[in-house]
């Protein structure tokens, strides 16, 4: 019997199943043991798996990521939790210089997952709301995933744990408890590197992930009433990108809106736009448009944050503009 899980429950369940399946999987991070994690992703894990598999560490992100890398070098499958994605900067050197560069130089697999609770919309302000994916997408050697649904969240955490490469797993904090979805009972995975068409349409492609998927789906439903059929591509994996799915959709619709919650400049939208113009230029019937957060900090006051973030209305407006073009 398939069941309905929240996004966060899906992540927990995926992790729990992988830990039961493979004794080399263990977790480390701040407050993840007896406390169950700042967001309770690992609630109950300590009791089930014990202190040697659910390890509370010192408050030192470089040590957490570095130790996870070391354990992976030694053949284990660590899953490191950053309490907030924002704090990964403290361990940035470890990820980009140690973790990401290890296999290419030494042919030693690094089966490591770094979980980053990311994203805004939770009134977290400048230091608890970031979407840092672009940094890691620009780091060869890593894989970067960003699920938008409960099904994908579970399937991707399981794939990430089983992958022999370091995977940055971006879990969106706003989606944690706002999104529920059906999750099958059987042991399934969602392949890394494969985008998903969340809605089919012939008129405009929205290429997005995380919260953007939900904005796009809501906007698409509205526009459909006016006869504009929007295709929603959920990237799910940001590195490596599923170029084929992106390009096929563009070739079908001829118009593209790229949506992400991360800030505009230097965001992954620019990369996708470049891929499209390099490979599908002659299929474009309109300029490629991007919708993203402002190029500012993520502000604290609700009015400011709401203005900063994209939302369904902004996606809808952008789509109508494209339809009109």
């Amino acid at each position: 019997m398939p069941k309905i899980l929240t996004y966060i429950e899906a992540i927990s369940e995926g992790l729990r199943e992988e830990m039961r399946r493979d004794p080399s999987v263990f977790l480390l991070g701040e407050d993840i043991g007896t406390y169950g994690g700042a967001f309770k992703v690992t609630k109950g894990f300590f009791d089930e798996f014990g202190e040697n598999r659910v390890i509370d560490t010192v408050l030192a992100e470089a040590a957490i990521i570095g130790a996870a890398t070391g354990a992976a070098i030694a053949g284990m499958r660590p899953v490191a939790e950053m309490q907030f994605a924002d704090f990964v900067t403290n361990g940035f050197n470890q990820i980009v210089n140690m973790t990401a560069k290890y296999h290419y130089r030494n042919f030693v697999p690094i089966p490591l997952v770094v979980r980053l609770p990311s994203g805004g919309g939770i009134r977290g302000g400048p230091f608890h709301s970031s979407n840092p994916e672009a940094w890691f997408v620009h780091t060869p050697g890593l894989k970067v995933v960003a699920p938008s649904t409960a099904y994908d969240a579970k399937g991707l955490i399981k794939s990430a744990v089983r992958d022999n490469n370091p995977v940055v797993y971006l879990e969106h904090k706003y989606l944690y408890r706002h999104i529920k979805g059906e999750v099958p009972d059987n042991d399934y995975t969602v392949p890394i590197g494969k985008a998903d068409i969340k809605r089919e349409g012939n008129d405009i492609s929205v290429i997005t992930y995380h919260t953007g998927v939900h904005w796009a789906l809501e906007a698409a439903a509205t526009l459909s009433n006016d006869g504009i059929e929007v295709e929603v591509i959920d990237l799910r994996t940001l590195l490596p990108l599923d170029r084929e799915t992106i390009l096929n959709s563009v070739k079908k619709t001829g118009k593209v809106l790229i949506v992400h919650e991360a800030s505009l400049t230097g965001g992954i939208g620019g990369e996708i736009a470049a891929i499209i113009s390099e490979n599908a230029f002659e299929h474009l019937d309109a300029p490629i448009r991007r919708l993203a957060s402002l190029d500012t900090l993520i502000p604290y006051a609700p009015t400011l944050e709401d203005y900063f973030l994209p939302n369904t209305q902004k996606v809808s407006d952008a789509l109508r503009n494209l339809a009109r073009y």
């Binding site: 060869p140 490596p240 170029r243 001829g254 118009k255 891929i275 390099e278 490979n279 230029f281 002659e282 299929h283 474009l284 019937d285 309109a286 407006d317 009109r324 073009y325």
Partner: protein
């Protein structure tokens, strides 16, 4: 660093300021000499301003929509040899990094980019109309074997009349099924002003205007029920001129019927030969211009202006032709129209209308008119009451040319009829003069020389 200053140009002796409508470059951008640097708008004309030098734009000193005095420095360009050289070569010679397809890339499992696909330049020549076609539309055009000339005739439903994917696919589909092909209302190179028979195809001015997204009005007129647009300089000035004209001149209107049947016959008889010879379509407009010029010579007071208690009679005819463009109404002027023959007038009409739509008019092109013709018939109007273009004293308006049943020699006949309106300034032109003038215009048209073009 050698610096070149860009100043707000004076596009006419009387001008003191200009508005920066749009910067085409940002600081840091390379620019070639004579490449468009910005668009400006003045009281009289909108114009693209070419860069005075090659180099790198270092500073833009004023934002868009800012009005500044002429000769004010508005931008700076660094013309250092290196900067200038790379700017000059940039479009022609992309760097190796951009284009050289490293062999390994193809094998690369990480980077699956195909060696940058040099897109086949679309085979067609660029359209003469300046109409924009998306890569997809050009691609479909090529695959379906549609010529540029054919493409130019396809009506567009996209923004600003753009031919969208749907439009071209509908056209291809209709063509394959042998259904009547949709045709664009007016050929882009010909003036709708000169095509009274053509269907309505008003340029979509609103698509060229900036959206207003902040300010009090946004609250008063909330989206999506409302959309707030910024009036362009041109539109604002048009409004001011119109109001001033109505306040200055007591307008009187006379409407006469004109039988265009003979003009139509002459036009159609000579159409093909004319187009082959001149490269553009023969319209009604040169016939009307010719008749107006001759009538003005006959009634010089209609070709005058008032200065205080003096009447200034002009010994030349500078004929203004109102043209609707996507930026608004503009009235280019055929200078010394009285010195041109029929073909000369036809060429002048075609040239000005084309350049008006491509925003290539210079200030002299729109200055110094002594009389104006406006043609609203192209948009379907049977009659109109045009406003005089100050400081002139009269304007003639041309309604749509329609086949009507009329009585000739007690018999009912089908004739091509148009209603001509003369709006005149009763301070100087009275009903007798106005009526005589308009009758003269019509008489000349109704008795057009059949061998005019032979």
């Amino acid at each position: 660093m050698s610096k070149v200053e860009v100043v707000m140009p004076q596009l006419g002796e009387s001008l003191t300021e200009g508005t920066i409508v749009k910067w085409h470059k940002k600081p840091g951008d390379k620019v070639r000499k004579d490449e468009t640097l910005l668009e400006i708008s003045t009281d009289k004309v909108d114009s693209e301003i070419p860069s005075p030098a090659s180099g790198v734009v270092t500073k833009l000193l004023f934002p868009e929509q800012k009005t500044v005095a002429v000769r004010t420095v508005i931008a700076e360009i660094d013309t250092d040899e290196t900067a200038a050289a790379s700017a000059a070569s940039a479009p022609a010679k992309p760097t190796a990094v951009e284009t050289a397809p490293p062999k390994v890339e193809q094998k690369s499992p990480v980077q699956e980019v195909r060696p940058v696909a040099t897109p086949q330049p679309s085979l067609q020549a660029m359209p003469a109309s300046g109409r924009f076609y998306s890569p997809l539309v050009l691609n479909i055009t090529r695959e379906e074997g549609i010529s540029m000339m054919e493409l130019e005739q396809i009506p567009g439903t996209g923004e600003g009349g753009r031919v969208s994917k749907k439009d071209i696919l509908a056209y291809v589909d209709a063509k394959k099924k042998g259904i009547a092909l949709p045709q664009r209302a007016a050929a882009p190179a010909a003036a709708p002003a000169a095509q009274p028979a053509a269907g309505p195809s008003a340029p979509r001015i609103e698509s060229t205007l900036k959206h207003v997204e902040s300010g009090d009005l946004v609250k008063k007129y909330p989206a999506p029920q409302y959309e707030i647009l910024q009036m362009s300089n041109l539109i604002q000035k048009m409004g001011e001129h119109m109001v001033r004209s109505k306040q200055t001149s007591p307008h009187v209107y006379e409407i006469h019927e004109c039988d265009m049947t003979k003009v139509d016959i002459v036009r159609r008889r000579n159409q093909d030969g004319f187009e082959k010879r001149e490269g553009f379509k023969l319209t009604y407009m040169p016939f009307i211009c010719d008749a107006v010029v001759q009538a003005l010579k006959q009634f010089p007071l209609v070709n005058c202006q008032i200065d205080g208690d003096k009447i200034i009679v002009k010994k030349f005819v500078n004929l203004g032709i109102a043209v609707a463009t996507e930026n608004g109404l503009i009235v280019p002027v055929i200078k010394n129209a009285d010195e041109k023959n029929f073909t000369g007038l036809a060429r002048a009409v075609n040239d000005l209308a084309t350049r008006a739509r491509m925003k290539k008019l210079a200030l002299p092109d729109i200055e110094g008119g002594s009389f104006t013709i406006t043609n609203y018939g192209g948009f379907g109007a049977m009659m109109g009451t045009p406003i005089i273009n100050q400081p002139q004293v009269a304007i003639i308006g041309i309604g749509s040319i329609e086949k009507r049943a009329v009585v000739i020699n007690d018999a009912i006949a089908i004739r091509s009829i148009a209603y001509f309106t003369l709006s005149f300034d009763h301070r100087i032109v009275d009903g007798a003069l106005g009526g005589s003038f308009l009758s003269a215009v019509i008489k000349k048209l109704e008795n057009v020389d059949e061998n005019l073009l032979v």
